[in-house]
């Protein structure tokens, strides 16, 4: 027992114990509506992990993660639309636009296996392709950001305008679809989805941990800090960037699929410009370059958003705008970064308890050092003497 409580061991198993405990207890404690919200926000944590990989570690600010998020959501929603249809039937909305036969690209989504793969492969391929075309030309920095944003707008326009293909601006509903004979919107199903989300979030976290811990992660950080130098050392930054952008795309796709089934609909709004920038702020508030910060930030900010929007909807944009400014100007490493860099003890030091510093005992006893220290802490008193 004592061995288990030793601080190093504690750090090892306590987080896992808390996660398991949370996953078991929360569904009992929280009402279904809140549980559903938590599940959604956790799934947003997965896309935040992807943003952290490409922005926090690699230094590429993508404002277009919504593309991959929505692609994952659409892939799953298309399968759910086709699921349990009788042969020859079409999803309901097609009749509104007088479409008689299923469009060709819908066909493969009848298969569950294809769907499960396409949820993350399609976003990854799109991201990889887009990334390759951009990185190949060494387009980076702000140019990259605004190109991804333009790509986002393009996808948004495309999905918004194509009623006959994917129901345009109305999106695809999933809450009324059935899977394994049970309604997706039902409380029992939502609880299962919550557990699935917890498992996948942990898995995504471990994947990112694994990616960033090794040489691959070192290369990413090198790209962030000095890309030309990495290139001169003989690495090919384009390949690394393309791969990591594709991984982030895949994560976004999985996240989008989970979010879709928990919120009951996928629509082009998932590709709206503000939503994708919000993803960045989740990571920034949580702490970029810290994986746990990305998940925490996503959950915290979204919970705050839903609480504020329920109480005072008009103030949310002010708060959000203020958060952008605050995080960039005052808290560049986010909450987790602030915590890890000794923020709390600095805060305590400000109100009067400076942290005990480890020095040599002989130094502490030296009268001159003591006088100097006093002078440093109280400069005005020193001048008078």
């Amino acid at each position: 027992m004592a061995d288990l409580l030793a601080s190093r061991n504690l750090r090892c198993w306590l987080p896992w114990a808390l996660i398991v405990l949370g996953a078991l207890v929360l569904p009992v404690v929280l009402p279904p509506f809140r549980l559903n919200l938590l599940g959604r926000f956790l799934s947003l944590g997965i896309v935040a992990l992807g943003v952290d990989l490409i922005w926090g570690y690699t230094g590429m600010l993508s404002l277009g993660q919504g593309i991959f998020f929505a692609l994952g959501g659409y892939a799953l929603a298309m399968y759910l639309q086709l699921n349990e249809l009788k042969p020859g039937e079409l999803p309901e909305f097609f009749s509104l636009y007088g479409v008689k036969s299923l469009p060709a690209f819908w066909q493969p989504f009848g298969s569950p296996l294809f769907t499960l793969i396409s949820i993350w492969v399609i976003p990854a391929v799109v991201a990889g392709l887009l990334g390759y075309l951009v990185f190949r030309n060494r387009i980076k920095g702000v140019y990259f950001s605004i190109l991804t944003q333009a790509a986002l707008l393009v996808f948004f326009n495309f999905f918004n305008g194509q009623q006959k293909l994917i129901n345009g601006t109305n999106g695809l509903k999933t809450s009324t679809a059935r899977i394994f004979g049970e309604l997706i919107g039902s409380d029992g199903m939502q609880r299962n989805l919550f557990w699935l989300t917890v498992v996948l979030t942990v898995a995504a976290y471990l994947l990112c941990r694994w990616l960033t811990d090794g040489r691959f992660g070192d290369a990413l950080i090198a790209i962030r800090d000095d890309e030309p130098r990495l290139r001169f050392t003989g690495y090919n930054p384009t390949a690394y960037k393309t791969v990591v952008f594709a991984v982030a795309g895949a994560l976004a796709g999985i996240s989008g699929a989970l979010y879709t089934v928990q919120s009951g609909i996928v629509s082009p709004q998932y590709m709206a410009v503000p939503f994708s920038i919000e993803m960045v702020i989740w990571v920034a508030v949580g702490g970029r370059g810290t994986l746990i910060g990305a998940v925490l930030g996503a959950v915290l900010i979204n919970y705050a958003k839903s609480l504020v929007s329920e109480a005072l909807p008009e103030t949310w944009l002010f708060i959000q705008g203020g958060l952008f400014l605050l995080v960039v100007l005052a808290l560049p490493d986010g909450l987790v970064g602030w915590w890890r860099q000794g923020g709390p003890s600095r805060l305590i030091a400000m109100v009067g308890w400076p942290p005990r510093t480890a020095t040599y005992p002989a130094l502490d006893l030296d009268p001159q050092v003591a006088a100097e220290q006093e002078q440093l802490q109280n400069p005005r008193a020193g001048q008078q003497r």
Partner: protein, 385 residues
Amino acid sequence: MDLLYDTLFNGLAIGSVLVLAALGLAVVFGLMGVINMAHGELMMLGAYTTFVVQNIFKAVLPDALFPIYILVALPLAFAVSGLAGLLLEKTVIRRLYGRPLETLLATWGVSLILQQFVRSVSSAFAIGLVVAVVAGILVARFTPKAWWQQRWTPLLGTGSWIVTGLVGVAIASLLGEQRVFDQPWFSARNIDVTAPEWLRGSIDVGVVNMPAARLFIIALTVVALCLVNWFLQKSVWGMRIRAVTQNRTMSDCLGIPTQKVDALTFLIGSGLAGVAGVAVTLLGSVGPNLGGNYIVDCFMVVVLGGVGKLAGTVLAALGIGILSYVVGSGSLLLVWPAMPEGLNAVITFFATTSMAKVLVFALIVVFLQIRPAGLFPQKGRMVEA
């Protein structure tokens, strides 16, 4: 054939708005490497200034003066947006020098705040805001100097702003109980600006029928371009701006006040956004979301045009404007009825405003494969590898 000219003329008008809007963005980006996400909101401020000026002319001044209100609105809009931009530069952007991605996020936060501000500003709100800001500044002025050199000074600074902010909110909500003060100035709805008589008609030139408002916009653009070009090429400060754009460190060494140059450029760029806002009111009703409709197009202009020359911005803006109008309005089909079958289908597919954007973006990405730095790249050894 008239149809062709008509289409070209309309495309030219839309392109000129884009020139006006993107001009300021491009100059600022070339100088500071900063993308101002709040540029669209500065346009919106210009548009709302026009609205206010129009209402003042309607309500207070004699009817005979009404036709010239737009000429009064132009310099006023320039001043309002320019001052807002100057404030933004002094308070936010200056602190983030050398961190373009962070600047992008911070300015996005500012754009959110500006949008919501226009939606919910009322007399009570404005009074509360002014009280909070003035009180916050006064606290800093009239407290003992010694308080600002202590360990806990950061807490004092933050705390005093929080307290004055809360006081402002309290005053605003107290005043808000009076109907007179609670009335929002603009509300979230779109506003309509009535164009003066002389801009409502149209002029026939040969076979082409030109709406006067669009002619006015084109003329405005030409005048603005000439002025900016004259300023940059002939005036002393313009020369300084060009010098800093080319080599900031060297200019600094030679005694050019780079901070003043930054502030001045930002003021001019923002002011141009305000002028663009005036032009936009002539095209239709405007609302708090105005910025979002233009900002991505403006970014594309900057990416495509490069930052080396003004001509790049002009060419790119006109190109994007004309191409998206010509494709989007579907008038290619009417101009050239004998089009081959396959091409015909393609053109029809892209013949909506949103699908035209898809095509234009695809073309830009293809173009960037050939010339990654845009039409007129910045030249010289200082350009980053």
